[in-house]
């Protein structure tokens, strides 16, 4: 990838060097700073200079120490080819990215094949020149190269003393199918299992590689490979633990949302039942006791008056107790008169008339009393009717009980 400007170039270079494990010291950056300044003096913009400098990744790759270039390129490519696969499984990335990567790989393979053919055709007459210049060439990606080609490579390697790192690059191969298999069938939810699987695969690969190295390479370089593969494995593991964390976070978010929704629903229910409590008649509400009315039913209810019913009941009260009014009034006034206050008899004669002589009632009092007695009589009649109805019901139940017994109902 070509950088945008100097800042971007240096930033990308730093990241890339760090990623492939090159010790990025100040000298490297000083070289490019100087280059940018010199280029600027010549009248080039930073963007143009970046374009001429070329791909940052390629530049960074060239910093891998030449003595270990082949080894390092195996490792670097292993990192390069594995990490994108891992990151592809992160939420938000799509499968199409994976496809494009694969197609890129296919292209790479093709170009490598072409290169390899060139090498082969050129190898015979220029035997002496070949070793050095092959040595500088980064090792073809062992993970993506067709197996038939690897076999050819091996033959050449046994013939060429320069190629002394054969075993580990073959040993690195088994890693490929495992990694790819698991990563292509990846879904987000399986992150944990796949993380473990890839981690194990990488560890295994490290083991195989280190075994291979023991047989062929000296200990120092072997350790370096081992270390590099371990780092690669760790990076993959880290990536997967990141995914696991992400999944956990998402699960938590979902749980939170569910909780919030539940709270909202219950709050809405409560609000609804509060605002409509008075709409629900007690008989529609929860059943209390045997289904009858109890005062606890109206404990928390708001008052909502049905005026028609209320007036009817007050009128009935008046009818029933109207006869008591003159009695109450005359009682109070008589009590007052008894205390020595001159009764204003003439003014309230009507009321006092209730007790105007023994067993003689004032005419109005007689009317009041008549209404009261009638109302009371009506009430008693109603009560009697209820009692009769109840009695009839009991009789009916008794009779029905007999009938049910007879017919086994």
């Amino acid at each position: 990838m070509v950088a945008k400007d100097k800042q971007d170039f240096l930033f990308q270079l730093h990241n890339e060097l760090h990623r492939i494990g090159v010790d990025a010291n100040e000298d490297i950056f000083a070289d490019f700073e100087e280059h940018f300044k010199a280029s600027q003096n010549e009248g080039f913009t930073e963007e143009e200079t970046c374009e001429r400098l070329g791909d940052v990744k390629e530049i960074a790759r060239n910093y891998i120490d030449i003595e270990d270039e082949r080894l390092n390129s195996i490792v670097a490519k292993a990192i390069e080819s594995d990490i994108p696969h891992v990151s592809l499984t992160k939420p938000g990335r799509t499968e199409s990215a994976d496809d494009s990567l694969n197609s890129k790989r296919v292209e790479l393979d093709k170009s490598k094949l072409n290169n390899a053919e060139n090498t082969e055709t050129a190898s015979e007459p220029v035997r002496e020149y070949t070793p050095e210049h092959i040595k500088e060439e980064p090792q073809p990606d062992p993970l993506s190269i067709p197996s038939m080609f690897i076999a050819k490579d091996d033959e050449e390697q046994t013939a060429e003393p320069a190629r002394e790192f054969t075993p580990e690059h073959i040993a690195a191969e088994p890693e490929s199918p495992k990694t790819e298999q698991s990563s292509t069938s990846t879904t987000m939810g399986q992150g944990a299992a796949i993380g473990a699987a890839i981690g194990a695969a990488v560890e295994e690969a490290v083991k195989v590689v280190s075994d291979g190295i023991k047989n062929s390479v000296n200990k120092e370089t072997g350790d370096e490979i081992k270390q590099a593969f371990k780092e690669a494995g760790n990076e993959i593991k880290d990536a997967f633990s990141d995914i696991e964390k992400d999944i956990k976070n998402i699960d938590k978010d979902i749980q939170d949302i569910e909780n919030e929704l539940n709270e909202d629903v219950s709050a809405a229910n409560e609000e609804f039942s509060n605002s409509h409590k008075s709409d629900i008649p007690p008989q529609c509400g929860p059943q209390v006791g045997n289904g009858g009315f109890s005062f606890s039913d109206i404990k928390d209810m708001k008052i909502s008056i049905n005026w028609g019913k209320l007036i009817m009941w007050i009128a009935l009260d008046l009818c029933i107790f109207i006869w008591a009014l003159p009695m109450l009034a005359s009682g109070i006034i008589a009590f007052a008169g008894g205390l020595g206050i001159t009764p204003i008899v003439s003014g309230v004669g009507i009321i006092i008339g209730g007790f105007d002589g023994i067993f003689v009632f004032h005419r109005l009092s007689e009317i009041f009393l008549g209404i009261g007695i009638t109302a009371f009589g009506c009430m008693m009649t109603g009560l009697a009717a209820k009692m009769v109805k109840g009695f009839i019901m009991i009789c009916k139940n008794i009779i029905m009980g007999h009938v049910k017994a007879l017919f086994d109902l």
């Binding site: 000298d27 490297i28 000083a30 070289d31 490019f32 700073e33 100087e34 280059h35 300044k37 010199a38 280029s39 003096n41 010549e42 001429r52 400098l53 070329g54 791909d55 940052v56 390629e58 530049i59 060239n62 910093y63 120490d65 030449i66 290169n115 060139n118 090498t119 007459p125 220029v126 002496e128 020149y129 050095e132 210049h133 092959i134 500088e136 060439e137």
Partner: protein, 105 residues
């Protein structure tokens, strides 16, 4: 030009340029990129590698008008290496041209 050939000859080119006269990075990059189509940025890693191998050395020159410049110079081992590569190159070219001539003839 074949990328492998390019890589192989790049080192020889750098050594022979530096052998002629000391020069600084940007100058070197320009000289090479005029005759070879290369990723210019890869010259610097190459210079670092050559320096690590002891075939070239570098020194800083403070300049009045611009920033300090890093100049590259060839070492004695570098001269030997350069001669070796030089011979190898012409052997290679000769054998290739012989081959081609033989095919044509």
């Amino acid at each position: 030009m074949n990328s492998q050939l390019k890589r192989g000859t790049l080192e020889l080119c750098v050594l022979s340029i530096v052998c002629e006269s000391d020069c600084y990075g940007y100058e070197l990059v320009n000289k090479i990129s005029t005759c070879m189509d290369i990723t210019e940025g890869t010259i610097y890693p190459l210079m670092k590698r050559l320096k690590d191998n002891g075939v070239i050395d570098s020194y800083i020159v403070e300049s009045q008008e611009g920033p300090p410049r890093k100049y590259y110079t060839i070492t004695d081992t570098g001269r030997i290496e350069k001669d070796r590569l030089y011979n190898e190159w012409f052997e290679f070219v000769d054998s290739v041209s012989n081959l081609l001539k033989g095919e044509n003839g």
